[in-house]
C-alpha cells in the first residue's frame, strides 16, 4: 500500500513536471513575442463576424511585425488580463487601446503613441442628462482600469455621482441601456464605433482629458521590441499603411459597411447558434478538457491528502490539514489569479493560462475531495481496522483491502457532486483568459451585443453536459454498488 501511495505521488509530480517542462521548452525556441490584446474594445480590438480577432490594434501590430520581421503571437485575453500578464512576465507586450499615464509609467515602458483619443460621456437616447452637472446623485458605469474610468473618478467629487465598474465594455454599456446607471465614460473612437454598430446610446460631451494610446512592455524588459515597434510605426505612417488601417475602421465607408452587416445578421436564438457554433463548440471542448483533466488530478491529489489526514503520523495529518485549509479557504478566483500572475512573479517562469487553470482547479477541488475522502474513511467502523490489524495485516494492507473499499462507497455521492462542481468552476477560469465556454460567451456578446440570448445558449449547454456527467456518474455508482 505504502508503495502504491508513493507511485501515486510520483505519477502526480511527473504529470505536473511534464506540463511545466513542455511549457518552458517552448520558451527556448526562436523568440516569438506574445502580445496581449483586449477582446471587447472595438474598433481597436474585437472579434469580427468570422470569429477572427480584428481591429486597429490588431492590424497595426501585425503590420509592424511584418515590416520589422519579428514573430508575434497574439493573445486576446481582455485588457485586465493582458496588462497583468505583462506585469507578471507572462507576456511580452500589450496593445489594447492603452493610454499613457504617469501611474502606468511606473510599471511599463511605452512606445511612441499611435493614436490620440479623448474621453466622452454617453447616455441613453432619451436621457435628460446633457452635461456632467446633471450627474449629481446619479450612478455611472465604468470599465475597470481604463482611461475613461480614471477621468470619471477625477471629476467624481466635483459632480457628486457614484460608480460601478465592469470588466467588459458590453456590460458597462448594458448597465446604462437598462437604466441601472445614468451614464458611461469611454474613449471617443470606441464609443462612437459602438454606437454606429447598434449600441443604443448617444454621446453628450466633447472629447476631454485626451490621452495617447501606445504599445507597452514591462518596465525594463524587451527594449528591442519597443524599438522595433517605434521603427515599424514610423514606416507605416510614412508609407500610408497607418492611415489605411485607421480609415478601415473609422472612415465613412466602414461605418456604412458595419451597419449593413449588423442589420443582415439573424439574431434569433437558432440564428445565433448557427453563426457561433464553431466558437461555442471549441469553448465547450476547452471546458470539457479542463474538467476531465482537473477531475482526474484532483481525485488523485484528494485521495493522497485524504489518506494523509487519517494515517497515524502527526506530520502527515498536519501537512494535509494545512494544505486543505489553505486551498479550500481561498476563493477560486483569487487562487487562479495568484497562480497565473503571482507564481511567475515569484519563480520567474511563465506558465500558460491553461496550465495555471488546471493547477488552480486541481488544488481547489483536490482540497474539497480530500476532506470528504478522509471523512469517508473515518465513517468506516473502527472495529474494521482493529479486526484487520488483529489478523496481522499491516496498516497499508488493512486500509487498501478493508477500509477503502467500504469508504469509497460512502464517498461516491460526494465524488459525483464534486465532479459537477468542478465542471461549473471551470467558468471562473475565464478571468485568466482561458477560452472556455463562459469566456467564449463573453466574447460573442462583445461583438453582437445579444447578451440575453447568448447567455441562454451557454446556460443550456452547461445544463446539458452537467446532465450527461450526472448520468455517467450514476451509472458508475450503480456498478460499484452492485
Amino acid at each position: 500500500m505504502r508503495k502504491k501511495l508513493i507511485w501515486f505521488a510520483l505519477l502526480c509530480s511527473t504529470v505536473f513536471g511534464a506540463l511545466l517542462a513542455t511549457n518552458s521548452a517552448s520558451q527556448a525556441a526562436e523568440k516569438t513575442y506574445t502580445i496581449g490584446t483586449d477582446i471587447t474594445y472595438a474598433p481597436f480590438d474585437f472579434q469580427g463576424a468570422n470569429g477572427q480577432y480584428t481591429g486597429i490594434d490588431i492590424d497595426l501590430i501585425k503590420a509592424i511585425a511584418k515590416a520589422e520581421n519579428i514573430k508575434i503571437q497574439l493573445k486576446p485575453v481582455g485588457f485586465n488580463a493582458a496588462v497583468q500578464a505583462v506585469e507578471a512576465n507572462q507576456m511580452d507586450g500589450v496593445i489594447a487601446g492603452m493610454t499613457i499615464t504617469n501611474e502606468r509609467k511606473q510599471q511599463f515602458d511605452f512606445s511612441d503613441p499611435y493614436y490620440y483619443a479623448g474621453e466622452v460621456m454617453a447616455v441613453t437616447k432619451d436621457s435628460k442628462i446633457k452635461s456632467f452637472k446633471d450627474l449629481r446623485g446619479k450612478h455611472v458605469a465604468l470599465k475597470v482600469g481604463t482611461q475613461g474610468a480614471a477621468y470619471a473618478k477625477s471629476i467624481q467629487k466635483k459632480y457628486g455621482f457614484t460608480i460601478t465598474e465592469f470588466d467588459q465594455s458590453n456590460d458597462m454599456y448594458n448597465d446604462v441601456v437598462t437604466g441601472n446607471s445614468a451614464a458611461a465614460f469611454e474613449d471617443y473612437p470606441v464609443m462612437a464605433y459602438g454606437i454606429q454598430n447598434g449600441i443604443d446610446l448617444k454621446i453628450v460631451t466633447k472629447p476631454a482629458a485626451g490621452g495617447n494610446y501606445a504599445f507597452a512592455v514591462k518596465k525594463g524588459e524587451n527594449p528591442e521590441l519597443l524599438t522595433k515597434f517605434n521603427k515599424g510605426l514610423k514606416t507605416l505612417k510614412k508609407n500610408g499603411q497607418y492611415d489605411k488601417i485607421i480609415a478601415k475602421y473609422l472612415g465613412k465607408d466602414s461605418v456604412a459597411k458595419a451597419t449593413a452587416t449588423a442589420k443582415k445578421q439573424d439574431n434569433s436564438l437558432w440564428g445565433l447558434v448557427k453563426q457561433n457554433h464553431s466558437a461555442l463548440l471549441s469553448g465547450l471542448l476547452q471546458t470539457l478538457y479542463l474538467t476531465v483533466i482537473s477531475i482526474i488530478l484532483a481525485t488523485i491529489l484528494g485521495v493522497i491528502f485524504g489518506l494523509m489526514q487519517v494515517v497515524p503520523a502527526k506530520w502527515a495529518n498536519w501537512t494535509s490539514s494545512t494544505l486543505i485549509y489553505i486551498f479550500r479557504g481561498m476563493p477560486l478566483l483569487v487562487l487562479a489569479l495568484f497562480i497565473y500572475i503571482g507564481v511567475p512573479n515569484l519563480t520567474g517562469n511563465k506558465i500558460s493560462a491553461f496550465i495555471a487553470g488546471i493547477i488552480t482547479l486541481t488544488l481547489n477541488e483536490g482540497a474539497y475531495t480530500a476532506a470528504f475522502v478522509s471523512g469517508g474513511i473515518r465513517a468506516v467502523d473502527r472495529g474494521q481496522m482493529e479486526a484487520a490489524r488483529s489478523l496481522g495485516l499491516p496498516y497499508g494492507k488493512a486500509m487498501w483491502r478493508v477500509i477503502l473499499p467500504q469508504g469509497v462507497k460512502i464517498m461516491i455521492p460526494s465524488f459525483i457532486n464534486q465532479f459537477i462542481i468542478t465542471l461549473k468552476d471551470t467558468s471562473i477560469l475565464s478571468v485568466i483568459g482561458i477560452l472556455e465556454l463562459t469566456q467564449t460567451g463573453k466574447i460573442i456578446i462583445a461583438r453582437n451585443l445579444q447578451g440575453f440570448k447568448v447567455w441562454t445558449i451557454v446556460a443550456i449547454m452547461y445544463i446539458v453536459i452537467i446532465t450527461l456527467l450526472t448520468w455517467l456518474s450514476k451509472a458508475v455508482e450503480r456498478r460499484i454498488n452492485k
Binding site: 479486526a387 490489524r389 488483529s390
Partner: protein, 249 residues
Amino acid sequence: MSAAENNRVIVTDLVKNYGSNEVLKGLNLTVKNNEVVCMIGPSGSGKSTFLRCLNKLEDPTKGKIVIDGYDISDSKTNMNKVREGIGMVFQHFNLFPNLTVLENVMLAPVELKKADKAVAEKEARALLVDVGLAEKADAYPASLSGGQEQRVAIARALAMHPDIMLFDEPTSALDPEMVGDVLDVMKKLAKQGMTMIVVTHEMGFAKEVADRVVFMADGHIMEEGNPQQIFDHPENPRTQEFLRKVLNA
C-alpha cells in the same frame, strides 16, 4: 518444554491510563500453553482493555508483556508478526462487509503470503466446515445471523494458525438461541488444546471449560483459581457479591 517456554503469555505490572483515568492498575497474569483462562468481572472493570493490550490494539502505559517469547512492550518488536500468532474474536464480530464469508477467512493468509490462493481456499473451506457454515462460503456477512457471523469470525482468526486465541465477550451480542452454537465451537477448540483467554458472562461455559477463572474489578485482578474455587468458594467479598448478582439474575 521447559517451564519458561511453557508460558504463552506473561504479563507483569501492566498499567493502562486513558488520560488521567487509570483503567488497569498493575496486573500480573501468566497463561500456560494449552490453558483456557476465563475472565469475569463487572462491566467497566478493564477486561476488554486488558485483552486489547495483549495484541497492542491499545498501547500499555507501563509494565511488560511477553507473548510467545516476544517482548511486545518493546517498540522494536514487529507487532504484525506477533499478531499473526494471536487470534482475536470481538463482541461485534467485525466481519468485513465488502468481502464474502470465504474471502473474509482467506484475506489474511493470502495477503500475508502464508499460503497460495488455492491452498488458502482449501483451508478456509475446511475451517468453515468445522464451524458448521460450509454452505455460506459465498454469502456476504450482511445475510448471516449474528451467531453465524461470530462463527465466521472465529474461522477467520483460526485461518492464521494462531497459538493463542482472545475472545472478548463473543456471545454478548447474540440472541440466546445462537449462543450455544458459538460456545460449542469454542469448546471444541479448547479440547483441541488451543490456548485461550476468554472474557465472558457465560458462567456455565467457564465452569465447564476453564482451567482457571480470573475475577477482575476496578482495574485489579481480585481473585483467581480453578472454577470450583471461584464459583463454589470465592474468598474475596467483591467476587462473592458479583457472583451473587450474576447467578441470581
